[in-house]
């Protein structure tokens, strides 16, 4: 193994981590403020990716398709919030799970109906094609660097939004006492719609960014949704800081685990066994991480103590 390969995997882990953050930030805010467990968050990811692919097919512009991804996911998110999700805020978790599970079935099948069952592809724009020399003799994909960059910008933006703005104060207050802030004259239902829209938009953007590296297909949202759940559990529900740290942790552990474990096993056993056992263990690694953190801290790294 060379140092270049290790650095490349490290950066891949970081890039994956930032994408996971786009997913988990919305999810953790929606849960923290509205008390809603939203399984359909993965559907917004998928909707973002598909609108990007459709826009790309029409206009052949990557930047336009990026714009399409988050705006369409936001629009769908707002519509869903106003028609269905709104009725769930006062229901128990089981109802929320069922309705958002049904939304996944609905959206997945709808997308399959419109676009067919075959995967679509998005192209990297010319300016981000190829790789760039980041250190002496170490090259890395420009596009993946771009993703890390976008992730950083959005993380900064979210921290600013939550920490410094009026809206952020309302959001944080909403996590503690819903009735009190509505009594103080904050239009709570508007706030919820806005927050749900922001969460959906971030998921949609992540869908388009990842869809460019992988393929755009029905069911792409659920694996990443489950990773986002793992992240929220590790980071603590409602905490943006926890979500960011846990996202990077999960991104790095997952990427490096899949890469390093087979390589370590090669020293003990033959290469093909090492490959198969290693990849099997590598795929379980983040769940083991989650189990350990749960044993140590049942409410996650930055979670509030459960009442």
């Amino acid at each position: 193994m060379t140092a270049e390969l290790l650095i490349e995997q490290l950066l891949n882990g970081l890039q994956f981590g930032f994408m996971l953050f786009l997913m988990s930030a919305g999810l953790t805010l929606i849960f923290g403020v509205m008390g809603l467990i939203n399984l359909a968050h993965g559907s917004f990811y998928m909707i973002g990716a598909f609108s990007a692919a459709a826009t790309f097919a029409f206009f052949n512009s990557f930047w336009l398709s990026l714009f399409a991804s988050f705006s369409s996911a936001a629009v769908v998110g707002v519509i869903v919030e106003k028609t269905i999700i709104r009725k769930l805020y006062n229901r128990d978790h089981l109802d929320q799970v069922l309705v958002t599970f049904a939304l996944i079935l609905f959206f997945s099948e709808l997308i399959r109906w419109i676009f067919g069952a075959f995967p679509l592809y998005l192209d990297v724009p010319k300016i981000l094609n190829g790789s760039i020399e980041i250190f002496d003799g170490i090259y890395y994909s420009k596009y993946r660097l771009f993703i890390i960059f976008v992730g950083l910008i959005i993380a900064t933006f979210l921290f600013f939004l939550i920490g410094k703005t009026n809206l952020g104060i309302q959001i944080r207050a909403g996590q503690y006492d819903r009735e009190m802030i509505s009594a103080l004259g904050v239009n709570i239902s508007k706030l919820y719609t806005l927050l749900f829209g922001i969460g959906a938009a971030l998921a949609g953007l992540a869908g388009a960014l990842i869809g460019t590296i992988q393929s755009v297909e029905v069911g792409m949202g659920e694996p990443i949704l489950i990773l986002a759940f793992v992240i929220i559990v590790i980071g603590g529900i409602g905490s943006i800081k926890g979500a960011l740290i846990a996202s990077l942790l999960v991104g790095l552990v997952d990427t490096l685990g899949r890469f390093l474990i087979p390589w370590v096993l090669q020293t003990i056993t033959n290469p093909s066994d090492a490959m198969s056992i290693g990849s099997a263990i590598g795929s379980m690694l983040i769940y083991i991480l989650m189990a350990i953190i749960l044993i140590l801290r049942p409410t996650g790294l930055y979670g509030k103590i459960l009442s």
Binding site: L98, A102, M290
Partner: protein, 326 residues
């Protein structure tokens, strides 16, 4: 007068009658469907014990369904190929005997439930939902990336396991075995729910502090229920693999867990026979709409959403309510 008890008797008897008619008119596909209804309802009955009576929303019961399925498949395929499964501390090359397969299924699914329960029950509420889901996904990805047993493609077993020399490849015989399991499990659940243990379990969903203050350890109650629940769902997985003679990672998928919850909801939450009615509705719905459009899940989604938002008691609740108003 239609009571919950009568609804359950009617549904059990009609299942049996339809199966006998299907055999008489030579409709093997219908018998397979009926077996599927029963197997799914067993899986959901297992889940209902913790979800309906203990309010523990496990979104990971596919783990037990899948583990039961894989254990049965692995034992059967080794017996079929006469391959050694373990060589230490004794030689064992699988088994084709249903009793042994069920024994192993119950054993391993209980162990898994004990382990997962001990971890997941440290948390509650929404954490519990997400963690059960995450651990089930862990097993799913493990099954996909473990190449020995087919990986992503799964594997076929060629004959069903045998029980007392009965020809299980004959549809009605296999249906009757599933039906018998359903009766045993319904009987057990009925007893458990009405026992002091069941009362304690139902109490945990309302007020943990009060449960503790009368000297009951809620964690222990919930853990025992979780283990029993996992074992029952595991049996369903074992029967499902035998029915299809095929094992695949999709047994472990999170959609499976979601569907179990849907069966319970459609039938009526916290009712012993709810999952049976729910599974029967689901499978019939899938067959009926599936023959018109391949996009039937759109309509399923709409039905689930409207059921949750407007008809909370499920089908049984609806019938009972309707009768009361008359």
């Amino acid at each position: 007068m239609i009571s919950e008890k009568n609804i359950s008797y009617i549904s059990l008897i009609s299942l049996l009658l339809i199966a006998i008619f299907a055999e008489y008119f030579n409709e093997p596909y219908l018998i397979t469907l009926l077996s599927r209804i029963i197997i799914f309802s067993i899986a959901a009955i297992g889940l209902n014990l913790v979800l309906g009576f203990g309010n523990l929303i496990s979104f990971g019961h596919a783990a037990f369904f899948g583990l039961g399925g894989y254990i049965s498949g692995i034992l059967a395929i080794h017996a079929f190929n006469s391959e050694l499964l373990i060589s230490w501390p004794f030689l064992f090359s699988g088994s084709n005997n249903s009793l042994i397969i069920w024994l192993f299924t119950i054993l391993f699914c209980s162990l898994l439930a004990l382990l997962l329960g001990a971890l997941c029950l440290r948390t509650s509420g929404v954490y519990f939902i997400m963690i059960t889901l995450a651990f089930a996904q862990m097993l799913y990805y493990f099954a996909i990336s473990w190449p020995s047993y087919g990986g992503e493609d799964g594997f076929s077993i060629y004959v069903r396991s045998t029980l007392f020399g009965i020809n299980t490849m004959q549809g009605l015989n296999f249906f009757l075995i599933c039906f018998f399991w359903l009766l045993i499990i319904l009987f057990t659940i009925n007893k458990v729910v009405k026992s002091p243990f069941g009362l304690a379990l139902r109490a945990t969903r309302f007020n943990l502090t009060r449960v503790k203050s009368v000297g009951i350890n809620p964690f222990k109650i919930q853990l025992i229920a979780f283990v029993l629940s996992g074992a029952i769902t595991g049996i369903a997985g074992s029967l499902y693999v035998d029915l299809n003679r095929f094992v695949s990672p999709s047994l472990l998928s999170w959609q499976m867990s979601g569907e179990f919850i849907v069966f319970i909801l459609i039938g009526g939450l916290g009712r012993i026979y709810g999952p049976l009615i729910g599974a029967a509705f689901f499978v019939t719905f899938e067959q009926f709409f599936g023959s018109y459009t391949e996009h039937w899940q759109i309509f399923l989604g709409i039905i689930i959403i409207s059921t949750v938002l407007f008809a909370k008691g499920g089908i049984i609740g609806f019938i009972l309510e309707y009768r009361k108003n008359e």
